[in-house]
Amino acid sequence: MGVSVPSCNTAINGENKKLPREVCVASIDLKGLWPDTTRESRIKKILDRMKSVAGLHPDIICMPELFDTMWVSEKLTIPEVAEDEKIHGPVTGRIAEFAKKNNCYVVCPVYTKKGGHYYNSSLLIDRKGIIAGAYNKIHPVKSEILTDSSVKDEVGVIPGALDQPVIETDFGKVGMIICYDANWSDGWDNLRKQGAEIVLFSSAFPGGRMLNYYAWRNNCYIISSTGGDARVVDMSGNDLDSSSTFVRYAWANINLEKVNADTWPTNERLPDMFNKYGNKIGVKVWDKTGVITIESRDPHLKVRDVLKEFDIKTIEENIKISEIIQHRYRL
């Protein structure tokens, strides 16, 4: 079941207002929807499942990889189903309508066509139903690229460029990754360098501990939507929520005004921080991953300012500072 991260749902001055950088994220999985006979049946079922989370007023919903054709027995070729990257096609049009009606972003993974080539893509549709950007899977499986030449009209996809963009939304920077991409770290590293705060992972396979690793390594939230499960992974590398037998979606209110710090020496500064800021800050010690997350629960307080005041470094800052000293003293 979904969680409401306490820091985010804490009422401020008794009012149930969202924090400035609080984002409600949701995702659905494909479990129980396959095998399916027709593409139309699949799309209808997916839209039904998405309606289940609409009442949460999510800022963004992530959908599974190639949700309209994955494990659907109706035989359709890629050219028959591929959509444009910028203008709505038959499927993206329906998802865009949902996005507009529910005032949320949607990660909509479909085949796309551009410059005569086909891609396994995720399109980001914004709150107005407009396509805000596209991600093309950079590491498709061999069989997606090299199709069976004995099958008439069978064409494959080509791998996306290695420098896929992050996309600015009205709540922060997001990046996307698709399925088999998870076996390489280059796509994730590229998104981190561009400042992605949330990575949306649409996939056939769930990813398991790989996603916990990438979230921790890249200090970002990961929202996954797959053939087996849907999850929300914290920047500390720990699961915040996952879909379950009776609820095939996941959600959480996450706070982007939050950082990962090392457990030591951050632990030594906590009492002073508590004394000054009390519940205006949220601190969680994740012993399992050796991380302390610190977040602001006050709309007027920036977490970076608190860190500066107490001379606490984020993990990334600590690494940079240490490398300078190590380099100076190394032979």
Partner: protein
Amino acid sequence: MNTIVKKANRLPREVWVASISLKGLWPEKTIEKRIKDVLERMESLYAFEPDIICLPETFQISWVDEIKTLEEIAEDETIPGPVTSRIAEVARKQNCYIVCPVVTKKEGRFYNSSILINRQGKIDGVYHKIHPVDTEIIPETYYKGGGMTPGVMRPPVFKTDFGTIGMQICMDASWFANWSSLKDDGAEIVFFPSQGPFGDTLVHHAWFNHYYIVSGTGEDARIIDISGDIIASDGEFARWVCAPVNLEKVFIHIWPQIQRFDDIQKKYGRKIRFKIYHPENWATLESLDPDLKVRDILKEYDLPAYDEQLKEATEIQSKYRLK
């Protein structure tokens, strides 16, 4: 607790690895008391006839009240010094390797090191912590009489009589290149003496690089599988671990290889063991038969290991990606 398998009955590439934690042994007043406590804790391991034991980082001085200068405690890297020689004596008597983490001195510089002592009690090699904490490096901050010099960026690997091993120490866990380098150089087991336990960080380094990790820290002792699964961990009633790891084991991506798993299992029955990691789409395959090599099975069924599959996939992707 593992059933003890005598050396004569072990599989050819079955290695019994062990480690101890320092939990419950600190704070301590004197260095001598600490050494005695560590030696006593090691005694629980000998009945298992371990091939190698990992001790915690700078075990003789971590959280010990007695302060000595680096000059006073630093040991030689080739000839056993006062502490190393006592550990070497255990190695010789128990016929095992020992990862012995001490401060060493070389050409006038001090290092936070792990010395590898072999079954004869001789020093086989040394690893210098690549990423010491700032306070360790800057003289007179954490240590009296100097500071630690960070080791060279590419960590060495060591050939033992059971396989290729590497070592990492404590804060090294927060970097990635050093762990990848050990994999590239063929490490099959990485030993991790540390003060901090580093939780899932070690789990991730293990699966990401497909080698076993054995940790001996100030807080815990663990043996981690090439999949990231915890094989053994210490606890309240036993502050040590000892378990077999099978180096005749390979990491596989299950797709499309899984289509052949049934055939392989039918042919080899109990001579092999598959373990499937469903969410990650991985599997491990190991040989439980002294005459069967896992690589031969992969070859027989024309299946790639995980790294081979990714290498081929990368080549195809590069070929078809628009320039």
